[in-house]
Structures are given as structure tokens and as C-alpha cells.
């Protein structure tokens, strides 16, 4: 065993508890708008991002909290963003669907399904041209793989051997639409072949498996051998967005996936297989709770943006556009 596993555990617990917490806050009316939660998919973000360096790039989606946290965006900055505060990752201009922090390589999340994929290819292209050894990861859902943008980016990335990972989180649903209603194929990974790219299917609820596959893909990418499509089979344990009653799927199915919970099972594995001391896990849990309390306090205490902030950040000051308002 090693610190790695504990770190993975911590990342997953942080994501899970972050999501549960913001869901509660949302129910209490303390968070405006809508939320797409990542509950159940934590092993993907944790497994992939643990294979990355701080200066690698991550592009995420309408469901971005997990990826952002796993890549090192501060919980309190995300929390503040969800609260719509001036101290948020986007100064309150982005919101839940656009959290990110370019200082740790996370682009503002892109809520257009499939829209982040060509941009991730662009980030990877920059790494290739600048020879800075970085890789770019595009996270996307099963639904995104039917967008034209996805196809164009897959092809050019394979063609130019761009240093990137295409990480598909196949959680079996795109909003209410089951996988089978959108695909005539058994796995999305199979599509990699259409571009001359390797494609792998991995148990997206097994953080170590995800990590291993991602690690290999990252090595391939850094070695100039090109991109990999990784399909992580997982399940969103929560609704698609706020107030989704999930009546388009069965409780049996939900219960089944509950038994495959990535955190519960990994905790068990740590305790039973790696003989990790339960106390140390409890310490992790407590650390997470403390961090979240701090994040909420921070977000709460932070000021709202001033109405005037509306007008800034459209153009870069060095080249301010000067449009009439």
C-alpha cells in the first residue's frame, strides 16, 4: 500500500461529500440555479487526474465539480462560485456549469455537450508545438460521443498524434436517454478504431483500474504516440440535474449500481486487502468535512460581485474592445 491509495480515497470522498453538501445547500435555497452532480462517478475523476501533472490540461462538462476538485481546483473557490460570489473560480460569472481554474490547468467547464473536445485538442496541440511535455484530457459523457464536434476532434487528434486523453464517462444515460436509445454499438471505445486510435473499456467504479489505464495513456501521449480513448463504465447515482425524479430508470438498476459504489468498495478494499488502519481513513473523512465547512464559511462570507463587474472580463484589458454598453 502507499500514500497513493489514500490520496485517491481522499479525492473521492472530497468529491462525494462536496456534491452531497452542495445538494443540501441547494435544497436549502443557498445555492441558486441548477446543479449536475457527480455522485457515483468519483473513481473516474480521481483515477484519471491522479495520473496527471499540475500543468496538464483538463477540459470538463456541465458536470464538472468532480473533475475540477480532482485536478486541484480549491473546494472553497468552487463553493464560492456556486454561491455566485466574487471570490469564486470565475468571480461568479460562470456558475456551476463553468467552474475551472486555468492556474491548475482546468479550463472553465464547457456546458455545450461535446463542445470541450475540439478545444482539448487545441490544448494538446499547443503542448505538442511548444514541446512542453503536457497532455490534455477531455472528459465527456456517453451522450457527447454522438456530437459532431467529438468526431472531428477524435480524428484530428489521432491524425496528428496529439498528446491527449479522451475520457468517456459512460454512465449509461444522457439526461433521461438510456445508452441503448442513442447507440447501436456495445461500447463507445469501439469507436476509437474509426480514427486509428486505441480504445479501452475500464470499470469506471474501480479507481485503481481507471488510474492504471489513464497512466498508460498519459505515458503514450507524452511519448508522442498519440491519444487514447478510455471508456469508463459507471453510473450517476443521483439525478441528471436538480429535481430529477429518475423515473426513467428502475430502482432495481439503481440498487445494483449502489452495490458497485466506487467509494464504499475502495474503502473496503483499503481496509480488507491493504489492511489500512481504519483510523487513518477516518482522519481523511474528518479532514474532508473540515475542508467543506471551511469552504462553506468562505463562500458564505465572501462578497457578491458588484453589478458593475458585469462589464469587465469580456475583452482582455491589453486589448479592450470598447463596445458601447
Amino acid at each position: 500500500m502507499g500514500t497513493n491509495e489514500i490520496a485517491l480515497y481522499q479525492t473521492m470522498v472530497l468529491i462525494r461529500r462536496f456534491e452531497e453538501t452542495v445538494n443540501e445547500l441547494y435544497m436549502q435555497g443557498r445555492i441558486p440555479s441548477t446543479l449536475h452532480l457527480y455522485i457515483g462517478q468519483e473513481a473516474v475523476a480521481a483515477g484519471v487526474c491522479s495520473a496527471l501533472n499540475l500543468d496538464d490540461y483538463v477540459l470538463t462538462t456541465h458536470r464538472p465539480h468532480g473533475h475540477a476538485l480532482a485536478k486541484g481546483v480549491e473546494a472553497k473557490a468552487i463553493m464560492a462560485e456556486l454561491f455566485g460570489k466574487a471570490t469564486g473560480t470565475c468571480k461568479g460569472k460562470g456558475g456551476s456549469m463553468h467552474v475551472g481554474d486555468i492556474r491548475v490547468g482546468v479550463f472553465p467547464a464547457i456546458a455545450i455537450v461535446g463542445g470541450n473536445v475540439p478545444i482539448a485538442a487545441g490544448a494538446a496541440l499547443s503542448a505538442k508545438m511548444m514541446k512542453n511535455g503536457r497532455v490534455a484530457v477531455s472528459f465527456f459523457g456517453d451522450g457527447a460521443a454522438n456530437e459532431g464536434d467529438w468526431h472531428e476532434a477524435m480524428n484530428v487528434a489521432a491524425l496528428w498524434k496529439l498528446p491527449m486523453l479522451f475520457v468517456c464517462e459512460n454512465n449509461l444515460y444522457a439526461a433521461s436517454t438510456p445508452y441503448k436509445a442513442a447507440f447501436n454499438i456495445e461500447t463507445i471505445a469501439r469507436r476509437a478504431d474509426a480514427y486509428g486510435m486505441p480504445g479501452v473499456v475500464v470499470d469506471g467504479n474501480d479507481v485503481l483500474a481507471v488510474h492504471r489505464v489513464a497512466q498508460q495513456a498519459v505515458e503514450r501521449a507524452r511519448a508522442g504516440e498519440g491519444p487514447t480513448l478510455i471508456e469508463c463504465r459507471t453510473y450517476r447515482q443521483c439525478g441528471h440535474s436538480r429535481s430529477d425524479p429518475r423515473t426513467y430508470r428502475t430502482q432495481i438498476e439503481e440498487a445494483e449500481w449502489k452495490t458497485k459504489d466506487p467509494i464504499v468498495n475502495f474503502r473496503k478494499y483499503l481496509l480488507e486487502e491493504l489492511h489500512v488502519d481504519e483510523n487513518s481513513l477516518r482522519q481523511v473523512d474528518e479532514k474532508v468535512e473540515a475542508d467543506l465547512r471551511e469552504a462553506i464559511a468562505y463562500a458564505d462570507a465572501s462578497p457578491l460581485p458588484a453589478a458593475d463587474d458585469l462589464y469587465s472580463d469580456v475583452y482582455t484589458p491589453t486589448s479592450e474592445g470598447g463596445r458601447h454598453a
Binding site: 440555479s33 461568479g92 433521461s176 469580456v314 454598453a325
Partner: protein, 337 residues
């Protein structure tokens, strides 16, 4: 007469058209899944139960394909009603709409028609930059398309039915905050323009605007949510003795130009209100038209109230400052007198 919300009125319109005409069908994302949402704003809820999955087609997340399916099937004799979950996603089918749907008839020398409907919800509702735009102006510039924007339940049903029967592509822009404020998809700040909607068959003709309030001092042209803010502003102004005439264009292409001209002739003052950002919005076209054809009657500069030229922001105080409110409308009118 039964009262209903806009979402219900549209649903009733779709249902009636589908019963009336076997060629009519719906396609879109998450519109007919068993136990699902009925589209992003519940409009198509229950329709797959009545019409089956052969006529309520749940598509993959493929906006260009949705448009292409609508175009091709329309040319070949069907009457598709397609939708996007949020208007912002129309950009993903922009080529299919602006280069194909709009041009096919012309390029063919008038030998075919493209009788399709594309519905798109617009308006800022706290979801940030990519789920908030009001995209009318991107399409009013495209000859070959028609653009409507119903603000009442009566018009929503009547314009939907007119659009389905129209032989050309019609884009329907619906406002998220006007669907109705109750139920699963209630929204902060939502209005509920519950209105009387006849159960029988009727249409609201495309291209005909409506005077929502008469007045002699200033003409206000506003659509969708801005219509309601303008009407509220008109009440406030009335308390100051200023009588605003409020016009709901209902259709942006073809525009009911004469309705606006007649009003401006009477009032001599024109304010146009739009939710999207100012520069080159559809309000610019109305202003330009009136600065030409209505010039003789204008007693004051033509004013526009619109969002500033920034992407839609997320934080509530920012969004409130972004979307034009009653106060801005009142102030604009006062500045013209």
C-alpha cells in the same frame, strides 16, 4: 374557456396538429422517454404515450442531425416539429438552418418546400453563459426562415399551429420564464401568463403583431419576457401621466411593420426592448426601419433597451443587472420626453 400555461398551450397545439395530420411528428432530445422529462421544459410530456415512439422520436445528442432529419423529412412530405433543449444549442445546427433549411427552396428554383418547425427556449435563468441567450437576431438575418416569439398562452398555441401548417421553416422562440411557474420545471423569477386558450382549432397568423396596451405618448416594442416588463413599466409611467403604447410583434420575420409605423405616427417616440445583448440585436432592425420609414413622425431619438454587450453572467446580482428590468425601461422612456 379553459385556462392554461404556455407549456400546456404548446402541448395542446402539438397534440391537436398530430391528431389532425398524420404527417406531423416530433423529434428532439429527451422528449418522449418513458418516465422522462418531456423535453427540457415538460412541453412534450405525455405525447409519446398518446402517439407512440414512432411519432415522438427521441434523438441522440446530435443537433445537426436533428435539423437535417427535420429538413429532409419535411422536403419529402412530413411535418416535423423539432426542438433544442436550450436556444443556445442552435449554434450546433447553424449550418443546417442558415445554409440548408433557409436556402433549399430558393436554390431549387422553388420546386420544393421545407415545412419544418424548430422550437427553442430562450432567456437567462441563472444557468450562466451557455444556457441563457435569446437568439432571435441570429435568425432574423436569414432569408428563407420565419421567426416567431409567442408571449401568451393563446399565441403559443395559435402560432405553433400556424407554424406547423406553414410551408416554410419556422423557428419558434419560447421564453423559459414564461412556460408557467408551477410544477417540475418551475424557475426563480418565472411568470405564469396563464391565459384563456380555446379548446377548439384556431391559428394566430404568422406576421401579425398585437397592441397589448394603447397609449399616445410613446411606442414600446418588446417581445417575450420583455413584453411583461414593458407592460409593468407602462403602468408605472401611467402613474406619472405618461401613456405608453406597448406592441408585441409576436412574429419577427415577417415583421408587422405597419403596426409599428402606425403607432409611431401617433406617438412620435419609439423604444424597443430586447433581452439579448444590444449590438445588432433584432431591435436594431426595428430601429433602422423606423429611422427610415418612420422618420417623418419621430419627435425624439429612437431608444433601445437591451442587455449590455457581455455574455450572460451567472451570479444573481449580475444576471439581474444584465437582463433589462422595468426600471431601465421606465428610465429610457423618461429620457425621451
Amino acid at each position: 374557456m379553459p385556462k392554461m400555461s404556455i407549456a400546456e398551450a404548446i402541448r395542446q397545439g402539438i397534440r391537436e396538429e398530430m391528431r389532425r395530420d398524420a404527417r406531423v411528428f416530433c423529434l428532439g432530445e429527451d422528449i418522449g422517454i418513458q418516465g422522462g422529462f418531456g423535453g427540457a421544459f415538460t412541453v412534450t410530456l405525455g405525447l409519446s404515450e398518446e402517439f407512440g415512439h414512432e411519432r415522438i422520436l427521441d434523438t441522440p445528442i446530435s443537433e445537426a442531425a436533428i435539423a437535417g432529419l427535420a429538413i429532409g423529412s419535411a422536403v419529402c412530405g412530413m411535418r416535423p416539429i423539432a426542438d433544442v433543449q436550450y436556444g443556445d444549442f442552435l449554434f450546433e445546427m447553424m449550418d443546417q438552418l442558415a445554409n440548408q433549411a433557409a436556402k433549399l427552396r430558393y436554390m431549387s428554383g422553388g420546386t420544393l418546400s421545407v415545412p419544418m418547425v424548430m422550437r427553442a427556449p430562450v432567456g437567462a435563468t441563472g444557468r450562466g453563459s451557455q444556457h441563457a441567450q435569446s437568439l432571435e437576431a441570429f435568425f432574423t438575418h436569414v432569408p428563407g426562415l420565419k421567426v416567431v416569439c409567442p408571449a401568451t398562452a393563446y399565441d403559443a398555441k395559435g402560432l405553433l399551429k400556424a407554424a406547423v401548417r406553414d410551408d416554410d421553416p419556422v423557428l419558434i422562440f419560447e421564453h423559459k420564464l414564461l412556460y408557467g411557474s408551477k410544477g417540475a420545471r418551475s424557475e426563480k423569477g418565472a411568470l405564469s401568463p396563464i391565459g384563456e386558450v380555446p379548446d377548439e382549432d384556431y391559428i394566430v397568423p404568422i406576421g401579425v403583431g398585437a397592441v397589448r396596451r394603447t397609449g399616445k405618448d410613446v411606442t414600446i416594442v418588446a417581445n417575450l419576457l420583455m413584453l411583461y416588463r414593458s407592460l409593468a413599466a407602462a403602468e408605472t409611467l401611467a402613474q406619472k401621466g405618461i401613456e405608453a403604447e406597448v406592441i408585441d410583434p409576436r412574429t419577427l420575420v415577417p415583421l408587422d411593420k405597419n403596426l409599428i409605423l402606425d403607432s409611431v405616427r401617433k406617438t412620435g417616440r419609439l423604444l424597443i426592448v430586447e433581452e439579448d445583448n444590444l449590438t445588432n440585436g433584432w431591435v436594431a432592425e426595428v430601429a433602422a426601419l423606423m429611422a427610415d420609414e418612420g422618420f417623418a413622425w419621430l419627435d425624439a431619438p429612437i431608444k433601445r433597451v437591451a442587455a449590455p454587450d457581455v455574455p450572460p453572467p451567472f451570479a444573481p446580482p449580475l444576471e439581474r443587472a444584465y437582463v433589462p428590468d422595468e426600471q431601465r425601461i421606465v428610465d429610457a422612456v423618461l429620457s425621451m420626453l
